[in-house]
């Protein structure tokens, strides 16, 4: 099942990357990042079946990082919305050269 799991994980990760590059809604881009984290988790679990339990431990840490990232990132999006009244990244361009 290793090759099949890696295939599904690759496709999911690619969908996440395409979502990040094509969407403008900050919340949806953030959810695409979560999808990419999930795809990598699938790779870890598939490899842990072949190489030992370390992969599952890494999934555990990835979950923790994803939870922390969701909390901080959504707080940033809320404070961004308070300043700009939008989450459309086209309108958030103060740092654009």
């Amino acid at each position: 099942m290793l090759a099949e799991a890696l295939f599904f994980s690759a496709v999911l990760f690619t969908i996440g990357v395409v979502g990040v590059l094509t969407r403008r809604n900050a919340i949806i881009i953030f959810m695409c990042v979560e999808l990419m984290l999930n795809a990598v988790n699938l790779t870890f679990v598939a490899f842990s079946r072949a190489y030992g339990a370390a992969g599952q431990i890494f999934v555990f840490f990835t979950l923790t990082v994803a939870a922390a990232e969701a909390a901080v990132g959504l707080a940033i999006i809320i404070s961004l919305f308070r300043h700009k009244q939008t989450v459309n990244l086209q309108h958030i361009n103060i740092l654009k050269g």
Binding site: M1, L2, E4, A5, L6, F8, A10, V11, L12, T14, I15, G16, V17, V18, G19, L21, T22, R23, R24, N25, I27, I28, F30, M31, E34, L35, N38, N41, L42, V45, S48, R49, A50, Y51, G52, A53, A54, Q56, I57, V59, F60, L63, T64, A66, A67, A68, E69, A70, A71, V72, L74, A75, I76, I77, I78, S79, F81, V87, N88, Q90
Partner: protein
């Protein structure tokens, strides 16, 4: 994999295809709420795949933490900011960005397919039923807990610092602070 039963293979492919179809729906939806619900569907299918890959504990916390906690936080923020309806402004970037995204996607897919063809290192590979045996021997939680609290104890403890920093950061950033009071 010639020794896996057909039923197992069929279900693995089924959940994989459900996950990919839901992910495609998720990326193409205009409304953030619909997108979030499709992402929940993807995470449920991924949890099923984890369980089929002999990682039942990871599958359980995938449902609890990802589909349960993280996605509820996302939906909560969508509700809080009143973004439920699809916006009138074009949400998808223009043609140039779509071309770039398509090119990057194809390049990554090609790279990963080349890598999966190279095969695994035979000296490191465990027998196919090692993970299943570990679950039978020490239980679904024990198979994770034993290495987590022995070999990986220090990273586990550092995780608590990370969570504390995230809590403090989220509270500080999200705190209602009147801008003219500063």
């Amino acid at each position: 994999m010639q020794n896996t039963p057909l039923f197992y293979t069929f279900n693995f492919y089924l959940f994989g295809i459900i996950a990919i179809a839901s992910a495609v729906c998720f990326v193409t939806r205009k409304s953030p709420v619909a997108a979030a619900l499709w992402l929940v569907n993807t995470m449920f299918s991924l949890a099923a795949m984890y369980i089929m890959l002999d990682a039942p504990f990871i599958g359980a916390i995938q449902v609890l933490v990802y589909a349960g906690a993280i996605m509820v936080v996302f939906l909560f923020v969508i509700m809080l900011l009143n973004l439920g309806q699809p916006s009138e402004i074009a949400d998808v970037r223009n043609q140039k960005w779509r071309l770039i995204a398509g090119f990057v996607g194809l390049a990554m897919l090609a790279e990963i397919f080349v890598l999966t063809r190279s095969g695994s290192v035979a000296a490191l590979t465990l027998p196919g039923d090692a993970a299943a045996n570990a679950v039978i021997q020490s239980g679904a939680v024990g198979a994770i807990a034993t290495p987590l609290f022995t070999t990986y104890l220090l990273p586990f403890e550092i995780t608590s610092v990370l969570l504390l920093a995230a809590i403090v950061g989220a509270v500080m950033i999200g705190k209602q602070r009147s801008t003219h009071a500063r």
